[in-house]
Symmetry: C2
Subunit: 298 residues, 2 copies
């Protein structure tokens, strides 16, 4: 851990992930608008947090297969589809994301809806693509698909988004706020880590510990996101700040205050790190990621 170079690690993983996503979205000789729109959003230089966590979890439990990179890409596509739809005028109506015009601004609303849908479907096409070549270990791939679909769906990410919208303008208690975030961002972050561990043939005990790790960093990530929406630099962040307050969103700073929110995020990261005590130094990237999640500026 002491000598772990997080920046080098993140750069290397991002490059690996970007190259792989690029390969899934190549343009044929006759370029297609839908592919351009998908690429616009998914190649816009995101942090790649979910895919990196997936790869790091696979490493932490053992010797992951080469195609864990596909799982990682699929997770980023699901995350990006949710951002494209969240940014739509009928939802958050955001015009800037990852420092770029949002998909519906760069293209049009109909194309943005379909680009989101297409990334969503492509994720499952990729997650099931092992069947075309190796046709072994199918149970493992099916379990990864089920883990991700359950987290992204109506009992996970989508329900979180519904609650977030429903809560705009009136106050949530701390418990409801935590539950909302556990659904909205926590579920897919946890699924990213669990999917990586399944791909790396992690044991039940390892997966159990990684879930504790995931729940803690998932919430720490959200608390930090809320803080950055107040204190962040929009040029670094790649999106507008102050939007949560303008929309009367329920956030940790609005509920706990900034100072307590920061202390809470730190406490969560410590709990996350504790859950990793069970692992050897192959989990160093996960440890470093936990620190990164609250130290990040974007």
């Amino acid at each position: 851990m002491n000598n772990f170079d997080l920046n080098a690690y993140l750069s290397a993983q991002r490059e690996k992930i970007n190259t792989a996503i690029d390969g899934f979205l190549f343009q044929s000789i006759k370029p297609r608008r839908i592919i351009n729109a998908m690429r616009h959003s998914v190649m816009a230089g995101g942090k790649r947090l979910r895919p990196i966590l997936c790869l790091a979890a696979a490493e932490a439990v053992g010797d992951p297969p080469d195609d864990v990179i596909n799982t990682a890409c699929a997770l980023e596509m699901i995350h990006t589809y949710s951002l494209i739809h969240d940014d739509l005028p009928a939802m958050d109506n955001d015009s800037l994301r990852r420092g770029q015009p949002t998909c519906h601004v760069a293209f049009d609303e109909a194309t943005a809806i379909l680009a989101g849908d297409a990334l969503h479907t492509l994720a499952f096409e990729i997650l099931s693509s092992n069947v075309l070549s190796k046709k072994n270990n199918s149970t493992k791939y099916l379990l990864v698909i089920h883990t991700i679909a359950a987290a992204a769906g109506v009992n996970g990410m989508i329900e979180g988004q519904m609650r977030d919208m429903a809560a705009e303008g009136h106050r949530l208690g701390l418990e409801d706020l935590e539950e909302m975030h556990a659904l909205k961002t926590g579920a897919l972050i946890e699924a990213s880590i669990v999917a990586g561990a399944i791909m790396g043939d992690g044991s039940q005990k390892q997966i159990k510990q990684l879930k504790v790790f995931a729940k803690n960093i998932g919430l720490a990530f959200q608390v930090t996101d809320d803080i950055l929406n107040i204190e962040g630099d929009p040029r670094v962040l790649g999106k507008e700040v102050g939007t949560d307050q303008a929309r009367q969103k329920n956030t940790y700073p609005s509920t706990l205050g900034i100072k307590s929110s920061k202390a809470f995020a730190k406490k969560l990261v410590n709990s996350a790190l504790q859950a990793l005590n069970y692992f050897d130094n192959r989990s160093d990237p996960l440890r470093a990621m936990a620190h990164y999640i609250i130290a990040r500026k974007k």
Copy 2:
């Protein structure tokens, strides 16, 4: 075939499918708006064409497993998600579907976007759910997922939708029109039939014949849809008519004329039936469905 009672068959299959979909979307003690929105669209009394074709294809090739009904439900959910998104103001801006207000009219735009997304994800959650219980035959389930995802995605249904939008207001040649429909509606109809055949452990030769059947009825379905948009009764159809012409959509009647379009649909059904010569009387439901597809009034 002669004594096959299509109406009784369709009613029985629809009831089976509706009961199963209902079970996937039950409300907990604390009712949730997202589930209400999903139910509103998916329980609105659709024809259930894709799931019935899936079940019929599974029957045609052999003795299908009980959970082919799950595959059928997932297909209907993917179809319904695509309708919810197509109906949005930014896309077709339709206010009536299956005789009911469209999802964004009955709820709101944001909820409709998320209800579509949630049905989309739920389909893949269901398709992978075998892994939670039996954990055998996983390769088969993975192949079904891949077949459906490939058909619904950027090289299938979504590209068809993009081409449909791009073509509004200018004329397509017959070949481009056919290709657009093969993508927009044909791909998922074909996947419904192929997925059923995979679930029923159909042979390669059987699947090959069923693909020919599917391509022909898929196009016949679309030609009939175009005709119903001109000659249909909106009260029976459950949606507005004349909308294609108003939007200057490319349709078979606008390209070939009504009379030739009807003759073309009939020819396609005959080709579809020929592809079934290879099968025994267990394919009678498929044969009857082929006739139904052009005779239907909604």
